[in-house]
């Protein structure tokens, strides 16, 4: 069962001037997030990530299309009882202490006064801010603010947590804490839908990802499945004992010249980069034929960053969409 269902969602903003075309933030976006999964929503700045999240939270009205959250139309007041939300780079009421801040959000979530106190203590401990409970938020570091922001999103024990760039601006320690929190939520069976730029974290914590470019979903699926599609990006071969290999004009280097995309000679050692694994056998044969000694063969798989960058190419949209049609569920 899906917790988030988006079908053909579009959003345009008026330019404010007659005759000038509207700005299209979302252009027929479709995706689903299943219950209990951790879904990473990737895309460059201005791709439409925040607009999508705002529509899901009812902060913005879609121009057309369908957005359902927990089985109800996006923005439904009652279903918000089951959703926790952290906006991007939020400013919080900095005159409040951490404790007052969470109490306030507990009241807004409709929690009983007796329950609020225990929830506040538990959450402050969860986000490692127990010692700062009486400190005003204006004295918090950015990482602490992000963690208290996460705590407010969790105060009412929501089933679905929507986070907009939860790791932005955090140092490695802060990122790890947020990452662990997300993993912890997933382990509790919660659904986590978050947008981010921090790709290494995505590989670690996401069950599935979606990449959005110019308001359209260009890739969606399990990280390993998406990376497998690209297969091996390149192969690096290190050998020694072959001199003059860098001279590509020499007749004896004809095979190497045909196969390699890059050759680097340092002393006796030589690095040869091949564009794919199909050429490895012939290159190894050539090295042996020339009396060289093979030291290593290292295949380089397509990384999430490669996939992300490739998806951002202007002409990749339609090609990739075609390729992925039917693979994303």
């Amino acid at each position: 069962m899906e917790d988030i269902l988006i079908e053909n969602l579009s959003k345009s903003y008026s330019s404010g001037w007659p005759g000038r075309p509207p700005f299209v933030a979302l252009d027929g976006l479709s995706l689903t997030v299943e219950r209990g999964e951790s879904f990473g929503f990737l895309g460059p700045n201005g791709a439409g990530k925040t607009t999508t999240l705002k529509i899901l939270m009812g902060l913005v009205q879609a121009t057309s299309g369908k957005a359902m959250v927990l089985g109800k139309p996006a923005g439904d007041v009652e279903s918000r009882r089951r959703i926790g939300f952290l906006p991007e780079s939020p400013y919080f009421y900095d005159y409040l202490t951490a404790e007052e801040f969470l109490e306030f959000y507990g009241q807004l979530a409709g929690l009983q006064r007796a329950n609020i106190a225990s929830r506040v203590t538990a959450l402050l401990d969860l986000v490692s801010l127990g010692e700062a409970r009486s400190r005003q938020l204006r004295r918090f570091s950015k990482g602490m603010l992000q963690r208290i922001g996460l705590a407010q999103a969790l105060i009412h024990e929501p089933e679905l947590i929507i986070l907009d760039e939860p790791m932005t601006g955090l140092d490695p320690v802060g990122r790890k804490q947020v990452r662990d929190l997300i993993l912890n939520l997933r382990d509790q069976g919660k659904t986590v839908f978050f947008s981010t730029h921090i790709l290494p974290d995505v590989e670690m914590i996401c069950d599935r990802i979606g990449i959005v470019m110019r308001g359209r979903l260009v890739a969606s699926g399990r990280v390993e499945d998406l990376l497998r599609q690209g297969d091996t990006k390149s192969v690096e071969i290190v050998c020694q004992g072959i001199q003059g290999i860098e001279d590509l004009n020499a007749t004896e280097n004809a095979v190497i010249r045909t196969c390699a995309t890059r050759i680097l000679q340092q002393g006796r050692q030589c690095l040869i980069v091949l564009p794919n694994s199909d050429l490895v056998d012939s290159m190894v044969g050539e090295i042996r034929r020339r009396g060289g000694r093979l030291l290593s063969v290292t295949p380089h798989k397509v990384s999430l960053e490669d996939l992300f960058l490739e998806s951002s190419l202007p002409n990749s949209l339609d090609v990739r969409e075609e390729a992925l049609r039917g693979k994303s569920h």
Binding site: K54, M57, G58, L59, V60, Q61, V77, E78, R80, R81, I83, F85, L86, P87, E88, S89, P90, Y91, F92, Y93, Y95, L96, E100, F104, Y105, Q107, L108, A109, G110, G149, Q152
Partner: protein
């Protein structure tokens, strides 16, 4: 209702922890002090000058708080994105506006009470008689501030901070000149001008109807019928504006 109360208390707490309000209270104290100084310099009507200027100081300070805090209440939340975490809660957006309005009304009530307390002490020190009329005047000042707060919040739901300030201040000034609009309507020979002036007279808030400072300063109370009618007028005007603000806020994108 819990949500409205929580938002109201939070707005009140914000204003308490905001040092601008303390500066304004100091400003009111100085103005009341100045009224004593002016009264000392004048030959007659010491009591009237102290009472009149004191009430005017309270009114002016209250209006500054109502307009400038009022316009920032909603705009600041939008600019700083704090509104995202509020309106994404299981509450109606109208609750946010109502809570903010109630919070600022509470802030104004506390501020007016403090300033009125200082004012009464000043009157006592200078042996100025303290009559019912002063309490009636301060009551209607508070009603006027409730109207001004509603105006400021209404404008801030759809315009920038600067524009909201200009529009609110404009209405505050026009609101005290509505009698002139009525005069113009009555004296105009053109039917169109007369109709427009009459329409504007009824459209703009008649803040002069809430101003009884002049007669309160000389100790003449108004009858309770007038007081009740003026209060109802002010509350109704504020309610319509707050309803309008809720309607606009309900539909806007963030």
């Amino acid at each position: 209702m819990t949500a409205i109360g929580a938002i109201a208390l939070n707005a009140f707490r914000e204003s308490l922890r905001d040092k601008i309000l303390y500066n304004l209270l100091l400003f009111a104290g100085l103005l009341i002090g100045l009224s004593v100084l002016l009264a000392d310099l004048s030959i007659t009507e010491h009591h009237k000058i102290i009472a009149d200027m004191g009430l005017a100081a309270i009114n002016l300070t209250g209006a500054i708080i109502a307009i400038f805090v009022g316009i920032s209440l909603v705009n600041k939340e939008i600019e700083r994105k704090t509104v995202y975490t509020i309106v994404s809660r299981p509450i109606s957006r109208s609750f946010f506006i109502l809570g903010k309005y109630a919070g600022l009304a509470l802030t104004l009530l506390v501020n007016i009470a403090i300033m009125f307390g200082v004012f009464l002490v000043t009157l006592g020190l200078y042996h100025v008689p303290i009559g019912l009329s002063l309490f009636q005047a301060i009551h209607l000042i508070f009603v006027e501030l409730l109207v001004m707060t509603a105006i400021a919040i209404f404008f801030s739901t759809f315009s920038s901070t600067t524009l909201s300030a200009i529009l609110s201040l404009g209405l505050y000034i026009i609101g005290h000149l509505t009698a002139d609009l009525k005069n113009l309507a009555e004296k105009s020979e053109s039917g169109v001008t007369s109709w427009i002036m009459s329409a504007l007279y009824y459209l703009f808030p008649n803040l002069e109807a809430l101003n009884i400072k002049g007669q309160a300063a000389v100790g003449i109370p108004v009858d309770f019928g007038y007081l009740l009618l003026a209060t109802l007028y002010g509350m109704l005007y504020a309610a319509v504006l707050i309803a309008g603000a809720c309607l606009v806020f309900q539909r806007r994108d963030f």
